[in-house]
């Protein structure tokens, strides 16, 4: 009984400790750090506002060098190949990343990340396709694409996504700068996930586990009790 009591105490301690952090801290699949939200979902817990980012890309011999810009949270990165910009009259290109401080949700698309505005003080060259990578939270479904708009109120267009390189990141290429967010078409279920019961998979799994344990545990307990009693009865 003492052992069972200590085990129960450990279970309670675990539930309390796990309750204090965002869900999904299991082996290596959780995001490397909690997502910093502009508009946190209710289950997010403590939240830090997302940060902005800046990069200066050098221009050498009339061509912009390769470089990348990212926010300080590591939630969005844009990488430029050499000669990506029209550098007329420039000695460096300034690239800025700013999180939008509102969270518009356009019709037909459900964003699962903040919206970031990426600007540069020189236009992209035709054919230049910088790489955009966005990190997303495990609290939201996987996005089916990164979406791009000239204005945060839309219209938003999907610019697709490449094969997933790392869990909880989505990557694609873009031919223009503007507003970026990752999301999925809200008319269909979120992609890449196995969902049942209206997307409430985890609560259903836990409920099923509890039912199985209770239903199968009772007969097992009865059998064990009978097995223990039988030698005495024989005697």
């Amino acid at each position: 009984m003492k052992r069972l009591g200590l085990l129960a105490a450990a279970a309670i301690a675990y539930v309390l400790a796990a309750w204090m952090v965002a869900p999904g801290f299991y082996d290596g699949f959780g995001p490397p750090q909690p997502y910093n939200w502009t508009c946190p979902p209710p289950q997010a817990g403590a939240n830090t506002k997302p940060s902005s980012g800046h990069a200066d890309i050098k221009v050498i011999k009339g061509k912009s060098e390769a470089g990348s810009a990212f926010d300080n949270d590591g939630q969005i990165v844009i990488g430029f190949l050499p000669d990506s910009f029209d550098v007329t009259g420039k000695t460096s290109i300034s690239v800025d990343i700013t999180p939008l401080d509102t969270c518009p949700q356009p019709p037909g698309v459900r964003f699962v990340t903040n919206i970031y505005k990426i600007t540069a003080d020189a236009p992209l060259k035709q054919g230049a396709k910088p790489n955009v990578t966005m990190r997303y939270s495990n609290l939201e479904p996987d996005p089916d694409a990164i979406y791009l708009a000239d204005d945060p109120n839309g219209p938003w267009q999907s610019i697709g996504k490449a094969d997933q390189a790392q869990p909880f990141t989505v990557t694609t290429r873009t031919s223009t700068l503007g507003y970026f967010a990752a999301g999925y078409r809200s008319v269909s279920p979120p992609p890449g996930t196995v969902t049942v019961g209206g997307g409430q998979l985890l609560p259903i799994i836990v409920a099923v586990l509890i039912i199985v344990v209770v239903l199968a545990g009772l007969p097992l307990a009865v059998v064990r009790r009978r097995t223990r009693k039988s030698p005495d009865e024989d005697a």
């Binding site: 400790a17 309750w19 290596g28 998979l201």
Partner: protein
């Protein structure tokens, strides 16, 4: 004679702990390279399982006696491990490739931490040393893969699984519970 034997037990426990730590940290660092997550998890799980070579299955808590109870215990552990997340998010199952990796690393970690390391520490200093020692190393092993604010929950999960291992003398339950928790985000 006894002190020499005891010294050997210390050396053995330290070597096992260092090996496990090296594998876990290497895995965590390897996963930072794009596209290597699944491979790192599978190889890491396999490398952790190797630590059990030469250990009798019963010594590390694996057996077929009371198998029904062991499996039920694993399901119960899975339910407890997922409960805080289930109460707050809908969740999802991992896609195929990552699911296989999750199973590999879950089995590897249980065999290494609650199986071999627990057995070595228990032989060295009894159950308290085994529970506390395996939980401490489990937490340190996750320093590189988890942000600091998650480590309390990681430690509590390690303590729960170690307590099960001690209270029920069983590793099948922790393996099943760990696999369930890792498969369902």
């Amino acid at each position: 004679m006894i002190s020499a034997l005891r010294a050997n037990l210390v050396v053995r426990a330290v070597v096992i702990g260092m090996y496990i730590l090296a594998v876990e940290w290497t895995r965590a660092l390897a996963m930072r390279w794009p596209g290597t997550a699944a491979a790192a998890l599978i190889l890491g799980g396999a490398a952790l399982t190797l630590v059990a070579v030469g250990w009798p299955a019963e010594r590390i808590g694996i057996g077929t006696s009371r198998l029904g109870l062991r499996i039920l215990g694993g399901l119960a552990l899975g339910a407890v491990l997922l409960l805080p997340a289930a109460a707050r998010s809908g969740g999802a199952l991992l896609p195929g490739g990552l699911a296989l990796a999750a199973i590999a690393v879950s089995i590897g970690e249980e065999v290494a931490f609650r199986g071999v390391l627990f057995a070595a520490l228990e032989q060295l200093g009894g159950a308290p040393v085994a529970v506390v020692g395996s939980t401490l190393l489990w937490t340190v092993a996750h320093l590189l893969s988890h942000p600091p604010e998650f480590l309390g929950a990681v430690a509590a999960a390690g303590l729960l699984l170690a307590m099960w291992r001690w209270a029920c003398k069983d590793l099948v339950g922790p393996i099943i519970g760990h696999v369930i928790a890792d498969l369902a985000l």
